[in-house]
């Protein structure tokens, strides 16, 4: 069974802290994605990666960076957390290399991050 796991379901951090959100997939997928989800704004893509060490900016990359050193693991980094980064963060993976219309994304359960 397909599985995407995220390191924490809930996380509370303070303004200015460096925050790491980890995502692991066990499906040997090429693509991995990081989204944030806020009420009324739907899913917004932060970054995606189509290969190890490769990344592309999504719609809202400002204030975030990512790291993909191994195929199965994709990390989202908040260099200096701010209160406006309080949100639900969702990780996903998919089979294809790059964006494909016929691809299916598999999502993790999400991390609810609160920045105080």
């Amino acid at each position: 069974d397909v599985k995407v796991t995220q390191s924490s379901r809930y996380l509370v951090k303070r303004t200015g802290e460096k925050v790491f959100l980890e995502c692991v997939q066990d499906m040997d997928h090429e693509n991995m994605f990081w989204y944030r989800q806020d009420p009324g704004l739907g899913l917004r893509l932060i970054y995606f990666s189509y290969d190890v060490k490769m990344k592309e900016k999504g719609d809202i990359p400002e204030g975030y960076s990512v790291s993909r050193e191994k195929k199965e693991r994709f990390s989202l980094i908040l260099e200096s957390a701010s209160t406006n980064q309080t949100s639900m963060y969702l990780c996903a993976s998919s089979f294809s290399v790059g964006l494909s219309g016929t691809d299916t994304q598999y999502f993790g359960p999400g991390t609810r991050l609160t920045v105080l």
Partner: protein, 112 residues
């Protein structure tokens, strides 16, 4: 500007058929349409995908007219467990124009 638009919310009753329409006026030739379902405290999960005409699986049907400027997700005989948020997604992968175009989601409430 590429955009997908869907109703914010819908109400239905158990046993009824529910149709949720997504508008994607600027859809491009190679774009596909995918629908996802999301329950509270979970990530979205794939329901159905299509390019044109009609696609049906064990969960839903997807109707796409010839001009492909909209698509309709059809859920037959809904139950309380179909209460969820439904997202429409258009994937664009055309050279340097690579983009995931998500709708804002339709919150479906199924009542007894």
């Amino acid at each position: 500007l590429a955009k997908t638009t869907q109703p914010i919310s819908m109400d239905s009753y158990e046993g009824q058929e529910v149709n949720i329409t997504c508008s994607h006026n600027n859809i491009a030739t190679n774009d596909y349409i995918t629908w996802y379902q999301q329950f509270p405290s979970q990530g979205p999960r794939f329901i159905i995908q299509g390019y044109k005409t009609k696609v049906t699986n064990e969960v839903a049907s997807l109707f796409i007219p010839a001009d492909r400027k909209s698509s309709t997700l059809s859920l037959p005989r809904v139950s309380l467990s179909d209460t969820a948020v439904y997202y429409c997604l258009v994937v664009r992968n055309a050279g340097n124009n690579r983009k995931l175009i998500w709708g804002l989601g339709t919150s479906l409430a199924v009542n007894p």
